[in-house]
């Protein structure tokens, strides 16, 4: 069974495509369907999709799908929580699997749940979830570091959320000059971090500064994330610099997309990492107090991979 009734399909579709194999997601077929947008979903498919909704948790059901003696269905997660009683008719639940419904689901094709955000794609029931976890039209997650904030939305919404709910500092401009101060830098057992949002080039960037333990050594790390997708992040480059007493450390790189979590970027070491001793050295004075000045800037430039250069190889 396919989603479309022949009546609503554009005349452009050939007869061949109506006999489309369920597993064949032909692009032309998909793009034609997408012109209908949300209105494509019509009665027969909708009722099947509704049948696949668990009556208890209302999530989509995936194999194994269960049923009671009277035929009421239930998802496997909820089955473990209903004390062997069907929530619909209160009869005793067995271990009956509703294979027929699982098979019907195989032939169901549905639009991506982000169709209202612009995603034109249609997927078979069993691959829809995977696509939706990677869909480019899906909203962004709140980029705040620390405990995972569940808020999602577009960038404009998230910037306001960071400002109002997380009290994050906002700056306009593409250069920065921050001084990180910590009176007792030896207390770095728990990870501590700061986030500042920069607005430039019509985009938003998140500058993270964090103290944590790298293995057993205390370090500080600064890195930039871009509020947008990786593809767009590649249009920008940023630099970070620390220094003092005749020494200077400069990092230059591409901001990571906020699609990559703060923790993932931190643990990949993709930024400016300074050992605590060196950070204290740069702080000057007695070197007991952290007063680290970090300067930096963001500019529009794509980084190219290094071209091959003929230089001697030295094996370690």
């Amino acid at each position: 069974m396919v989603l479309m009734e022949t009546d609503t399909i554009e005349c452009a579709i050939d007869n061949d495509e109506i006999h489309l194999n369920n597993n064949n997601n032909n692009n032309k077929f998909s793009s034609t369907k997408s012109q209908g947008g949300a209105t494509v979903v019509i009665s027969p498919a909708t009722s099947v999709h509704e049948l696949l909704e668990c009556p208890v948790c209302t999530n989509s059901m995936y194999p194994p799908i269960h049923q009671c003696h009277n035929g009421h269905t239930l998802c496997s997660t909820c089955k473990t929580r209903v004390n062997n009683r069907c929530p619909t008719c209160r009869q005793e639940l067995g271990d009956i699997r509703c294979l027929a419904l699982e098979k019907v689901a195989e032939s169901l094709e549905l639009p991506c749940k982000f169709y209202n955000l612009g995603c034109p794609e249609i997927f078979p029931y069993y691959s829809k979830l995977k696509h939706e976890s990677l869909c480019n039209f899906r909203p962004f997650s709140c980029p705040y570091a620390g405990s995972d904030c569940p808020v999602v939305g577009d960038n404009t919404f998230l910037v306001a959320h960071l400002r109002d709910d997380h009290k994050v500092d906002m700056h306009t401009g593409c250069t920065f000059n921050h001084r990180y101060v910590k009176s007792n830098p030896r207390e770095v057992e728990n990870a501590t971090w700061m986030l500042t949002v920069f607005h430039c080039f019509g985009q938003y960037f998140c500058l993270h500064f964090e103290a944590f333990q790298l293995g057993m050594a205390p370090v500080y790390m600064a890195f930039l994330r871009f509020m947008g997708d990786e593809e767009d992040a590649r249009n920008y480059t940023y630099s970070l610099e620390v220094g003092g007493s005749g020494r200077k450390l400069t990092w230059e790189g591409t901001p990571r997309s906020i699609r990559d979590s703060h923790r993932k970027v931190r643990d990949s070491h993709d930024g400016l990492i300074i050992q605590r001793n060196m950070a204290l050295f740069f702080s000057g004075g007695e070197r007991k107090e952290l007063k680290l000045r970090v300067t930096g800037r963001i500019w529009k430039e794509q980084q190219n991979p290094d071209s091959g250069v003929c230089i001697p190889n030295l094996s370690v």
């Binding site: 570091a145 620390g146 405990s147 995972d148 500092d169 700056h171 401009g173 250069t175 920065f176 000059n177 921050h178 001084r179 990180y180 101060v181 910590k182 207390e187 728990n190 990870a191 501590t192 971090w193 700061m194 500042t196 500064f209 790298l214 293995g215 057993m216 050594a217 590649r234 220094g243 003092g244 007493s245 005749g246 020494r247 200077k248 450390l249 400069t250 990092w251 230059e252 790189g253 591409t254 990949s268 070491h269 993709d270 400016l272 990492i273 050992q275 001793n277 050295f281 930096g296 980084q303 190219n304 991979p305 290094d306 250069v309 230089i311 001697p312 190889n313 030295l314 094996s315 370690v316």
Partner: protein, 223 residues
């Protein structure tokens, strides 16, 4: 929340920010290297500098630290390094090397490479080393001056490592070879990166987890 992690205390870390045009960081030529890494009393330090014998004291071989007992003046050391340790000498103030480490995960002990640089009528030691800093695998590169600290302070050097759209640059003052290689390494007074970052730099030119680090740099005279 992942178990083991505690809610971060943002009150511990304050931020003082001023948004400026980016200013060049003034390179402070107030050389304080020894004072920090040795925590020497200023008086002791001054004594050592004023002691003329210091300048005539032979230098220890900078090659393997404690393993080689060779001592002598600079010309003797240069011959010793070339003949006995097969160390290469490069002419010129700038350099570019690629370090290849075939099985970076199999590194169990520190491994280092030494190259000599000849410029400004003087010689410098360029070290590249793979080691563990409290169990975390790291790489460090730094330059030491074949001579005394007084003269070392007249120079600066930069080291740059990068790849895969990223670049890290270190600018520093060469330490005198009066400081052992190990002292300089343990004070982290050089370009230091984790193995993870090194592999990130390497990952655009190889799919296997082989380390291919391009390190370039130059030496120059201050003033």
């Amino acid at each position: 929340m992942i178990s083991g992690e505690v809610e971060p205390r943002i009150t511990d870390l304050q931020i003082q920010s001023r948004v400026h045009e980016l200013l060049d960081l003034p390179v402070c030529t107030n050389q304080m290297s020894s004072a920090i890494y040795h925590y020497q009393c200023p008086n002791e330090h001054t004594q050592e500098l004023n002691n003329e014998n210091t300048k005539k004291k032979p230098y220890n071989c900078p090659h393997s630290g404690s393993k080689c007992d060779g001592t002598g003046d600079i010309p003797w050391l240069l011959l010793h390094l070339r003949n006995d340790h097969n160390v290469e000498m490069h002419d010129g103030r700038s350099f570019s090397h690629r370090y290849v480490h075939h099985n970076p995960k199999h590194l169990h002990h520190a491994t280092r490479m030494l190259t000599l640089l000849d410029c400004f009528g003087r010689q410098f030691c360029l070290y590249f080393e793979a080691f563990h800093l409290r169990k975390t695998p790291m790489y460090i590169a730094f330059v030491q001056f074949m001579g005394d600290e007084e003269e070392a302070m007249c120079f600066s050097y930069s080291l740059e490592v990068g790849g895969n759209g990223r670049k890290l640059t270190w600018q520093g003052v060469p330490r005198s070879i009066r400081d052992s290689h190990k002292t300089v390494r343990d004070s982290q007074d050089g370009l230091i990166i984790t193995r993870k970052l090194a592999l990130l730099f390497s990952s655009d030119n190889n799919s296997n987890k082989e380390l291919k680090l391009k390190v370039s740099g130059r030496v120059w005279r201050e003033q």
